[in-house]
Point group: C2
Chain length 350, copies 2
């Protein structure tokens, strides 16, 4: 090759699945969850600054492929994410994801990363960061209803960020609960396997629902929810997929990420479109009250928002600095003379 | 590592800049341009089948970052592309790009590729494929006005696809013309360096304009354009950036990719929004006439459309099969049990 080596800007740091797992163990999962929660909280404080484009969805009979872009004016980020409920039947993931950060000033990508694991971490970090603002003081017990891929991440994030000591597991599939209980063993939480949702809720100040049915389901009925709890509802995240009885919503003060999106995708799709909700960023920025009484039921109706992915990628960009936990991808053409792309190609002839 | 190796579906073939250059030389640039033109033509024939979402743009004072998605119902594709006119002052490319194909059925990516070089190739292949339909019979001479990064690709594509024998170069910057002439030497075209746009146009049946000024410019005035030519106008591709005098447009039969986009970004932004234009796919599919007389001026007002990128990625996916001209990226997490992402992460602990 006669042409000169590509400049640093033409090489894009890439974090693969393998490398992401190494990074998690290098940092430690709990410190990483705390770090992610801090970055997400910082970005929620400056929420108004962000370009909040709706996600761009391509629907088919089998599922959806979405691009979720956002920008803070300095850095641009997007996530590619699919949702294909039938994938598990072929041994594939329902959801896979990757993401990218770029420099708004010159449009050059600065980071490409797997985001299946990173999304699991950021979702849990977001839940716990919000619970730190809304859960009753001294909350140390969580009911974890739905013991799928997100359940262990939720449990550990609540431990790392909110001081959770005890988690009460329940799932309609006992194998899922056994898997979660096995995975959580030895990680510093008291783990209780429960025989019903009602049993899981006993003594819990935080109730997390994360079930996967793509249908209107009622995981929490009205009589199950006592005064003073914080509900972290993360399973309802697309049209037609909800987990809570409307009566539970009506007794709760509801906090959301981005109302335009949550009214379509969240639990509140069951309520009139003018039902009052509080944007969680306003609580975090000190503009609106969060929990105001001990008897109040707070509900975080979480669907996942592009800014959380942006924060996670920003955390990752900083976390890999000075490590060898990434590789550089030759993703961008970089001729010495920008007008001479053809010459660069010709000079690469064998 | 105790976990099993990722399945084939979790690994995404990746074509870097270096590998793309190897592939171009492996196939040969002219056969590759012909191959790309064939794939683009195939997709234009089935134009109605495509999901034609508008591009999603994030604008800043310095430039724009765009995501261009499309789908034919079986395969999904998108391109990331930026446009930062000030980049050349820092020795960076104005435009960089990469793209991705995914399987609509399960949402898993199947190809990631650099697209700076690939976009240059597909743009030239599109121009030449369209000229094959619209240029006068026996056209063998092209005026190439604007001798930047796209000019050599345009010239070679017209040779490979339309039988061009002679190219007449002009640019306001003589250094750009010298570069293009040097690059085109020995590639089988008669290359003429001209001292003015008027001189370049002498004897040319095809006039290609590809200048880079982000402003309303008049590269072709009315008196310069004689009867019977085909104009391939590719430089005007965003609001406020045009190259042709309105009088030239009014004398021409205008062919476009996607009217909704071209009326905003193309030469026809200078005309009333109801000025008649023909979608080029209708000509290719045999539904509308193309050139109907020898005296007619045909104008392809090209801005670049997502389907052309899709076709190029589809070509690339097929072209790398059975070669070693790609690497596999570990982009997607693939736990043995889809519900056990956390367990996969734990088992990867050192």
């Amino acid at each position: 090759m006669k042409h000169s080596a590509p400049s640093a800007k033409a090489l894009v740091p890439f974090v693969s699945v393998e490398t992401m797992m190494k990074l998690v163990h290098h940092i430690g999962i709990e410190p990483m969850l705390r770090g992610l929660a801090d970055y997400i909280e910082q970005d929620f404080r400056r929420w108004e600054l962000f370009d909040k484009t709706p996600r761009v969805a391509s629907h088919s009979a089998k599922g959806v492929i979405e691009l979720m872009p956002t920008s803070d004016g300095e850095v641009y980020g997007f996530k590619y994410v699919n949702g294909h409920p039938g994938n598990t039947r072929q041994g594939l993931q329902t959801v896979t994801a990757f993401g990218l950060l770029a420099d708004v000033g010159n449009g050059y990508p600065v980071l490409l990363s797997e985001m299946t694991i990173l999304t699991a971490l950021r979702t849990a970090a977001t839940s716990a960061m919000v619970a730190r603002h809304l859960a009753p003081k001294g909350a140390d017990t969580m009911a974890m209803i739905g013991n799928g891929a997100q359940s262990e991440f939720q449990s550990l994030a609540m431990k790392a960020i909110c001081g959770l000591r005890s988690v009460r597991l329940w799932d309609i599939d006992p194998a899922a609960t056994r898997k979660a209980a096995n995975n959580l063993r030895g990680l510093g939480l008291d783990v209780h396997v429960c025989n019903s949702a009602e049993a899981a809720i006993e003594g819990a100040q935080i109730i997390t629902t994360c079930t996967a049915d793509k249908q209107y389901a009622t995981i929490l009925t009205d009589n199950m929810v006592g005064a003073g709890v914080h509900i972290n509802a993360i399973g309802g995240d697309c049209p037609g997929k909800t987990e809570l009885a409307p009566a539970v919503l009506l007794r709760s003060d509801i906090f959301v990420e981005y109302p335009d999106q949550t009214r379509i995708e969240g639990e509140i799709q069951q309520l009139p479109s003018d039902h009052p909700v509080t944007q969680i960023w306003e609580v975090i920025a000190g503009r609106k009250p969060g929990r105001t009484s001990t008897g109040q039921i707070t509900l975080f109706d979480s669907v996942g928002f592009a800014i959380e992915d942006f924060s996670a990628l920003r955390y990752l960009r900083d976390a890999i600095k000075g490590t060898d936990l990434y590789m550089e991808l030759d993703l961008l053409a970089d001729p010495d003379d920008p007008r001479d792309l053809f010459g660069m190609l010709q000079r690469a002839a064998p």
